[in-house]
């Protein structure tokens, strides 16, 4: 353009003078607004005052602090809230379409009762609530007859549901699987108590073992913001990121390096790093260091190469970088956010102990136990897992008569999905508190529609992964919900009153108020879009050597392939099918027409005898998944990468019948030493189909 910098300045300034108060006529847009009146058959725009209101959008598992833009009081868009210290103005791809999800065709419009296989009848709230009370009355005071499954990791609703179960004489409060459950148990194996946190913002070298921290793990938007802060656009990076996992996923795409680790190799990989670090002089004052050292010594680079598929020089290079870093951080997690064991967590997390990176800036923290809103509530540390519970139902060891499901979709999102759905079917009366017609609601005897996040009070205590105690709360954005729904906690509290179970609250809003005051937070600040944080820290950790002694590198069976489910935040979660707007984000190598597409690298495909585009069946036990092959080098050897979240059988025309459900081919085994159910090491056989 032939202008130097000073020339530009002159040019711009010269161009502006004289137009200061002249409104520019944007002719094209004028045309549009005039001419579009000629198309009466397409939707017209609405009119009204534009406002924006802070909200807690718990559509994604961590929850995004957003501002909801409304037109005449009705939401139409969600933008980030720059004032919120968690989200800092960012929004995840699910919450970005939050307003549209209020009008999702999958929304449950009113209470419904089952009148036949797959048939429902709309009923009045008073009849629905009477039915709930009647069924609950029948099981009151009988241990094992009432069960609750919750899929919300952070809300005080869990306090109410678990306290209610206790008041009914039942201990049956279960959580859907996730990192929170596993990691909290992992921390116990390391002699601690509480959920772990990871201070990405303060670290200068972040090794993510499994954890898809920049797309679908933990408080993703907060993680992305922390990552972005270390990469000023146009400037030098101030931290390095390495992703170690079976798939070159979204997190790996922006990391400085991807280390291809097989789905069962994560623990061996971590202990291999420990071995090299100790050889290079790392010592720890943890009481079990001697045992740990002896144990790690077995994980030589050669052993790691055999168990995890990572070359010795890659491992050595990584160990050297960890050693050289001033503030290294190792994030432990399952590559798809669940299914790994507590020992696996321990293996990766122990590196932080070894490196002296616990409860320091940029390190791993242990959060103190969060206060409860109700004394009888079950804390996170003692939560039981829904998968084990449904397995017990399958074998007749558990015989609940009433199951309440809150914000969870166990019929779809548990391993061996087919069998889990069957065992759900064995429970005589199932109530689903759900905003959407998910697979579990479709099996329920009674569906009690829950509000969308813009229509309800809710809160989030310590979303998984946050480094500090953190509390957020939100209140309704709209005056009236779109559906004939009621807050599940309000419904439960009313039922509790009728059943003579005293919980001390009448509404969820009151529960949240009590929680906020127990925490010491100002509720008005929170609902205006703020967040409460504190510096409280939990105690020290050991290296978990006793638990780690159980790590045995799994011998790979050459006839099978390891399954690596792939999560993407945009595709929703177990309890939320891919939002209609986000279908555009799904690539052809994830879904083609109605076929799910699974990926494997060329060498693996050759060994399995399959080629690009081939139709295949992946089989594990009684589970079978149909898909097409895409040859892709971003997958570890001997592994098949399968997108997660497809193959819905309920919901709406946008998602129903598209692709297949990877949960069907995930097989559960017992973790040695902890008895936890794990399914990160699932394998399948591949056949043309």
């Amino acid at each position: 353009m032939g202008l130097d910098r000073r020339g530009f300045v002159k040019f711009v300034v010269g161009g502006v003078a004289g137009t200061l108060f002249t409104p520019v006529i944007w002719q094209s847009l004028d045309d549009v607004s005039i001419w579009s009146q000629n198309w009466p058959w397409i939707p017209r725009l609405n009119k009204g005052e534009v406002k924006s209101t802070a909200a807690l959008s718990k559509l994604c598992p961590a929850g995004c602090a957003v501002k909801v833009k409304t037109l005449g009081g009705l939401p139409y868009a969600a933008i980030g809230n720059t004032a919120n210290p968690m989200s800092k103005g960012g929004v995840c791809p699910v919450c970005a379409g939050g307003a549209q999800l209020m009008y999702s065709p999958a929304r449950v419009a009113s209470p419904m009762k089952k009148v036949g296989e797959g048939k429902f009848e709309a009923i009045k709230w008073e009849d629905a609530e009477a039915m709930l009370v009647e069924k609950l009355t029948a099981v009151k005071g009988q241990e094992g007859k009432l069960a609750v499954i919750s899929g919300d990791e952070t809300g005080s609703a869990n306090d109410v549901f678990s306290a209610f179960a206790a008041g009914m004489g039942s201990t049956g409060f279960y959580m859907m699987p996730g990192e929170m459950l596993t990691a909290t148990k992992g921390v116990k194996l390391m002699g601690g108590n509480g959920q772990p946190g990871f201070d990405i913002a303060g670290a200068d070298f972040v090794l993510m073992i499994g954890a898809d921290a920049l797309d679908s793990w933990g408080a993703t938007v907060a993680n992305q913001k922390a990552f972005a802060a270390t990469r000023p656009t146009g400037g030098a990076a101030t931290a390095q990121f390495v992703y170690a996992g079976p798939v070159l996923n979204n997190t790996a795409s922006v990391s400085d390096k991807w280390v291809a680790v097989t789905p069962t190799g994560a623990s061996a990989f971590a202990l291999g790093l420990a071995n090299l670090l100790i050889a290079a002089g790392a010592v720890s004052s943890a009481p079990d260091f001697a045992d740990y050292k002896a144990l790690a010594a077995k994980f030589t680079p050669e052993a790691v190469e055999a168990a995890a598929g990572v070359k010795a020089e890659v491992l050595k290079d990584l160990a050297a970088k960890l050693k050289a870093a001033k503030a290294p951080l190792v994030i432990a997690g399952a590559s798809f956010g669940q299914g790994a064991g507590a020992v696996d967590f321990c293996a990766a997390a122990s590196l932080n102990v070894l490196l002296g990176r616990v409860n320091v800036t940029g390190g791993m923290t242990v959060l103190p136990t969060a206060p409860k809103a109700l004394a009888a509530a079950i804390g996170r540390e003692s939560a039981l897992d829904a998968g084990s519970f449904l397995s017990a139902v399958a074998t007749g060891k558990a015989t609940p008569a009433v199951l309440m499901v809150y914000e969870a979709n166990p019929a779809f999102a548990l391993p061996q999905a087919g069998e889990m759905a069957k065992s759900l079917g064995n429970i005589a009366f199932k109530v689903s508190f759900s905003t959407y017609m998910d697979e579990t609601a479709a099996m329920a005897d009674l569906i009690l529609p829950a509000p969308h996040p813009y229509e309800r009070f809710d809160d989030a205590m310590n979303p998984y992964g946050v480094a500090k105690p953190t509390y957020l709360a939100g209140k309704p954005v709209v005056k009236k919900p779109v559906a004939d729904c009621k807050d599940p906690v309000d419904v439960l509290l009313a039922a509790a009153g009728k059943l003579g179970v005293s919980l001390g609250f009448e509404t969820y809003a009151d529960v949240i108020k009590a929680k906020a005051s127990a925490v010491g937070a100002d509720l008005d600040t929170l609902t205006a879009g703020g967040a409460w944080t504190s510096d409280g820290k939990g105690g020290n950790l050991s290296l978990g050597a006793a638990a780690l002694a159980k790590v045995a590198p799994a011998a790979a069976d050459p006839k099978t392939l390891a399954v690596a489910p792939v999560t993407r935040q945009a595709f929703g979660s177990g309890s939320l099918a891919t939002p209609p707007a986000n279908l555009l984000i799904v690539r052809e190598d994830e879904l083609t027409g109605k076929d799910l597409v699974v990926r494997m690298n060329a060498a693996t495909a050759k060994a399995a005898g399959v080629t690009q585009g081939a139709k295949v069946k992946l089989t594990a036990g009684s589970g079978e998944l149909k898909a097409r092959i895409s040859v892709n080098e971003g997958v570890a050897a001997g592994t098949v990468a399968v997108p997660m979240g497809f193959g819905r059988s309920a919901w709406d025309e946008f998602t129903k019948g598209k692709g297949d459900n990877v949960y069907k081919i995930l097989t559960v085994s017992d973790e040695a030493g902890t008895g936890l159910k794990v399914w990160a090491g699932s394998t399948v056989t591949v056949a043309k189909g």
Partner: protein, 259 residues
């Protein structure tokens, strides 16, 4: 052909080393611009994606494979290939700021512009927009809906520019010298990693002004001479090269896939 010059040149610098490919920009774009969701969104020949995130690969075998994500809005070219081919002047580059307009009521749907645009940034409405029942209540007031038979594309959320100018004007400022950040398209605003920096490429007070000149900055299909107002940057050499090689074949899709 010489690029049309304006005093203000709205543009983007997209940092590909920060883009995680999450897709939030695509969602925010659909929301802002009232793009109706499609039941079969896997038919990429029918979908409307003003903002589209591509996946690029270094084509090396595992474990040396690398990928990068590339968000692609309309480039608002200085020499737009789409403009001269339009028989009815439904698209033009004639306004301060350099945003290439698309005037739906004038568009006769001949799709010459679609064929001409090497970035595949233009989309044809094969159907009238159908929103699931009730969802039309969540239409954004920013953009009128378009009927079947017309072509549409990204316009850098043009209404936001008008709104930003109005706001500055009301506050007694100069609408022709908006401060950095006063006008931002929805994609740039929502992006959780801040990968999309937006501003006036000609204004030294705007971040994009310097960023676009950085040694790691490049434009797609630079060789074609369309002078895009969208820049990319990456420290990864293979990513920068792919931006150029793309021009060499002229064939999109060979090295890239939709996201």
């Amino acid at each position: 052909m010489k690029a049309k010059e304006f005093n203000i040149k709205w543009g983007m610098v997209i940092d590909l080393d920060k883009c995680t490919g999450c897709g939030a920009c695509m969602t925010a774009c659909q929301v802002e611009n009232n793009i109706a969701p499609m039941v079969d969104s896997s038919n990429k020949l029918r979908t409307l994606s003003w903002m589209l995130v591509f996946e690029m690969s270094n084509k090396k075998p595992c474990p040396d494979a690398e990928i990068a994500y590339l968000p692609r809005p309309c480039m608002q070219c200085g020499n737009p290939a789409c403009v001269p081919v339009c028989p009815v002047v439904a698209t033009d580059k004639n306004e301060e700021g350099g945003i290439v307009s698309q005037i739906y009521p004038r568009c006769i749907g001949c799709r010459y512009c679609m064929a001409a645009c090497p970035y595949h940034a233009r989309y044809f409405n094969w159907e009238d927009p159908i929103f699931p029942k009730g969802m039309e209540k969540a239409l954004s007031p920013s953009t009128s809906t378009r009927p079947r038979g017309v072509v549409e594309k990204c316009n850098f959320c043009h209404t936001r520019l008008q709104n930003a100018k109005d706001k500055v004007r009301m506050e007694g400022g100069n609408p022709e010298a908006l401060p950095d950040g006063a006008y931002m398209p929805a994609c740039s605003e929502v992006c959780p990693t801040g990968a999309i920096t937006f501003g006036d490429l000609k204004n030294p007070e705007h971040k994009v002004h310097e960023l676009a000149k950085s040694e790691n900055a490049f434009r797609l299909l630079e060789k074609l001479g369309l002078a895009p107002q969208v820049y990319y940057m990456s420290k990864r050499e293979w990513v920068r090269k792919l931006g150029d090689n793309y021009a060499a074949t002229g064939k999109p899709g060979a090295e890239k896939k939709h996201s």
